[in-house]
Symmetry: C2
Subunit: 406 residues, 2 copies
């Protein structure tokens, strides 16, 4: 076989919908030597990681930790641990990732009910309440920010609706957490999950999760400790969770005081996840959200300043990503390739009805920065010109500068 | 909340059953900047990773890639994708990890049949064949090396037995791969999975997997492409796999030419997994196994030279770990703590019937090295003396040196 060289990726500024360029401090943390999984230094790092993510999720939930896998691993752990076959799950869909929640809930054996709004819109709380009343689900599963449409679903009223109707509220905050307001306790969120590769500034591969006491009770009601490490006091309860890897009752025993062996914690990813949260908490969560608001506003103004039009309801756009209509006559994929090959800047396309129709440009995590915004706009102007269109010369950068000057 | 410092783990030589000290070159590879998941540089790294793990597993299987999670994620992906509810799965149990396979298969809805030998022994092929004939399972699921007992189950005859009886052979090679002979194709293994944190010299968090064409056919027979990215030609087949995250049919579409979006590949872990395999393949798989044999033999001779007795059938011991009886009168946990606190050397205890009865000492991955072996033996001698026993002065190091001199 051919000899492959060492890892040496090309220089890239990742300005798509994620993954984005990781904070170098996070990558440095990940290069630290390993320690054993029950080393007191390791369990201290685990406890610190729990404390840090409580701040990130704005919660007092004891059960706040990491699921070892990508953000979708966190989603599946939440749903498979909450949902038993035959349970009803309501999923409001306003983009691609609601379909994903519905799909995962379906694989858990749920009776899935969906409601939809057109891409580019979000739900009013009344629409969701009406569906809750009509369908009486066990779980309401909703995405906060859908990168496919760039929309951010308001959540503040959903917890009260869910509690009034004895429904558990699950939120997929993968794309939004850290860059848009999120308040697990104030909003009555029962379980929320995320990933590192968006506003948290790390690589994909670890899924922070937080679980409210009433969701813990549901999960503990399905506790079956694994054969081989079971104590006499560990009687099985309820219907066993269909996954071992995603059994949150067992994962809580691993992160909790019993430290019952489950998986072998992905130490390097834990180092990275801890550093992502440590940097955000040191900055202040409100300051981090404001940073994403500012650079997102600058990018939005910038693409508009180039003469481009923007997709979706701007009152409900996430701070950290914008979808731009590809102008008539422009080959969207060729333009993205030119951005990447000639300027080292990655931007994205979208899925489903928006595939090939929009570019998605992110300003998140480490790349929620002025130089990243201005460089991207400068490069995009050149690429648009090469594609035969007539962007306003300097219009993108000037408009972004105005946002920064305000 | 308190301010937490940056990641700064204590210096540790990890000589337990794994995770072990990662190769610094692997950690360096993991600190490389991220690139986008469809960047041509990224898909090239994915293809190279597939090619490298074909060498590691000694297979021509096209479907050889990574599952994003710890080694147990690989096990669950294999079993949930192969096994439908009601299918019979036969698990020969010779330690803790057979129980894990049985548990995971049970959660997949399998009718699980187990056979057992006492801890410290392995199965003769005839015992397994007899059970195959008696129970006619769909899948035979077997661990190659069980770190709980240090035993290495011979596999060379099992593929032929399975093919003769139309059974799929799944092997969990987490603890053994890279340090003990493994030949997926020659042995007729249908699916094998592993992790990085043992003989591969990396951190936990990525699970290499290889899948034979006949296992691919079974998995493809259950192909249901996810809503939202489905094409018209993608009709659903067979009974849907119960997990989205572990749906190997979808993961094959992500790693294959279609590059259908599934998870967002854990880029840093992929960099690490690729480097683990790149270093092993450059060394040569036979040379890597021989290195583990040599340093394992030195450690075995060393602990015996200290006057300690060893657990289990030495003819079937894995190269990379040895279980040592804790001498009478020695407090095993206190001695392990002294190894860690005073010498920075981690060794392990075991599970179940061996908990508190043995220490497990590993020589694997980056720590399959002479200096690591001699340092561990030197420290252990001091700790045994402090515990009030009378180890042969210099006897451990001398015996190990003899192995190296031979």
């Amino acid at each position: 076989m051919p000899e492959f060289g060492q890892i040496h990726p090309p220089a890239r500024l990742l300005m798509g919908p994620g993954p984005v360029t990781a904070d170098p401090r996070v990558l440095r943390a990940m290069s630290a030597p390993l320690i054993g999984q029950y080393d007191p230094a390791m369990t201290a790092y685990m406890n610190e990681t729990m404390a840090l993510y409580r701040e990130v999720f704005a919660t007092g939930n004891e059960q706040t930790f990491l699921v070892d896998g990508t953000s979708r691993a966190g989603i599946e752990a939440a749903l498979v641990s909450l949902v038993e076959p035959g349970d009803r799950v309501l999923v409001p869909i306003f983009g691609r990732f609601g379909h994903l929640l519905a799909e995962i809930a379906g694989r858990c054996g749920a009776e899935v009910v969906t409601i939809e709004v057109p891409w580019g819109e979000v739900f009013a709380p009344e629409q969701i309440e009406e569906a809750v009343v009509a369908h009486r689900p066990k779980v309401l599963a909703v995405v906060q920010g859908d990168t496919a449409t760039t929309m951010c679903q308001p959540l503040a009223d959903l917890g009260a609706i869910c509690r009034a109707h004895d429904v558990l509220l699950y939120v997929d905050a993968t794309a939004s957490l850290g860059g848009n307001e999120f308040r697990a306790d104030d909003w009555g969120v029962d379980v929320a999950t995320a990933g590192l590769q968006k506003c948290l500034g790390g690589p994909s591969g670890s899924a922070p999760i937080t679980i409210s006491p009433r969701a813990v009770e549901v999960i503990e009601g399905r506790r079956h400790v694994e054969a081989g490490i079971r104590d006499d006091g560990d009687e099985a309860r309820g219907r066993r969770i269909a996954s071992n890897y995603f059994d949150l009752a067992m994962i809580m025993d691993y992160w909790g005081e019993r430290r019952l062996n489950h998986h072998t914690e992905a130490t390097s990813m834990l180092y990275g996840a801890r550093e992502c949260a440590r940097l955000l908490v040191a900055e202040g969560m409100d300051a981090a959200v404001e940073r994403h608001r500012l650079h997102g506003a600058a990018m939005l103004a910038g693409v508009q300043g180039l003469g481009l039009s923007v997709f979706g309801d701007l009152d409900h756009k996430m701070h950290n990503v914008v979808a731009v209509h590809i102008p008539d006559g422009v080959d969207g994929d060729r333009a993205r390739a030119a951005m990447l090959d000639d300027f080292g800047v990655e931007i994205g396309t979208s899925f489903g009805p928006l595939h090939g129709k929009v570019w998605r440009i992110g300003t998140m995590g480490y790349n929620a920065r002025k130089d990243a915004v201005l460089l991207t706009l400068a490069a995009l102007e050149q690429v648009l010109r090469a594609e035969g269109t007539s962007p306003v010369p300097g219009g993108g950068v000037a408009a972004a500068r105005e946002v920064y000057a305000a």
